[in-house]
């Protein structure tokens, strides 16, 4: 964005919304929603296929490359989608600045914890260490 250099500091920040980050989150939310459709359907199919199976069979299927790749993409995509979505809810309903700060931190911590734990589990299942 070369035009950014031509703008004054006030012009750059004006109208960027309650998140102070412009329209990039709007675009990322759409991007992850489009990606989420096939990924979520695939994960539902995987989950149904694993219903009632033994632990050994489950581990084998979850760790197979195609399933693991789908699961990893699903985890990262869903985590980012949920991060943006809940941040939007916080912006809309939490108006007290310190509480908003706390909720925002909680959102980031929860997302990173869930995404890293899920991704690590899939990698462990895949590499079997």
């Amino acid at each position: 964005m070369s035009s950014a250099k031509m703008r004054t500091p006030l012009g750059r920040v004006r109208g960027r919304g309650a998140a102070h980050s412009g329209t990039s989150t709007f675009w990322h939310q759409r991007l992850t929603s489009v990606a989420g459709l096939p990924l979520t359907i695939a994960v539902i199919v995987i989950a149904v296929a694993l219903l009632g199976r033994s632990h050994a069979a489950t581990v084998q299927i979850l760790g197979s490359p195609l399933v693991a790749i789908i699961l990893l993409l699903f985890i990262l995509n869903t985590a980012y989608h949920g991060w943006i979505g809940v941040q939007e809810i916080i912006i809309d309903y939490v108006h007290e600045e310190k509480l908003k700060l706390l909720a925002t931190i909680g959102n980031v911590f929860f997302i990173f914890l869930a995404a890293f734990a899920g991704a690590f589990a899939v990698l462990k299942l895949s590499f079997g260490v």
Binding site: R30, V48, G52, H55, L62, I84, I89, E97, A117, L125
Partner: protein
């Protein structure tokens, strides 16, 4: 993602705000808008359930048995039922939003049709998914 350092300019001029829930007349599209957000919020915490499932499988047979016990209990099954419906409803609601993003479906009749398709579709697909699930449970291992 969020910058809390609101400048002096923003402090002087109040930010524009949009009208809130109570000013709108209740209708189906209103309900679907609210449900999209509520299901999304519910799914956020349901994500932890998916992570628990994967971590339990990676940890070992005992941890996986504990997860299976929970998800097979009445409370677990109710949560799973709610999660699966919320997931499908949020997906259909998302498709509805993507249709709007492409500037289709804004006429009153279209909006009503999309709202109806979202709620009816989510209930029907959830029932179908659970029928398939029960068949899979009873099928050969």
């Amino acid at each position: 993602m969020t910058n809390f350092d609101v400048g002096a300019a923003a402090a002087r001029r109040p930010r524009p705000i949009s009208p809130h829930i109570q000013v709108y007349r209740f209708m189906l599209t209103y309900l679907m808008s609210g449900l999209h957000r509520i299901t999304g919020f519910f799914l956020y915490f349901g994500f932890a359930l998916v992570v628990w499932w994967l971590v339990a499988a990676a940890t070992g047979p005992n941890a996986y048995a504990a997860f299976q016990w929970f998800i097979g209990s009445i409370i677990g099954e109710l949560i799973l039922l709610g999660y699966s419906w919320a997931l499908i409803h949020h997906m259909l609601g998302g498709i509805r939003h993507l249709i709007w993003d492409l500037i289709y479906g804004f006429e009153p009749a279209d909006r009503e049709m999309l709202a109806l398709a979202t709620i009816i579709g989510s209930v029907v697909l959830t029932i179908l998914l659970w029928i398939v699930g029960f068949l899979a449970m009873g099928g050969p291992r």
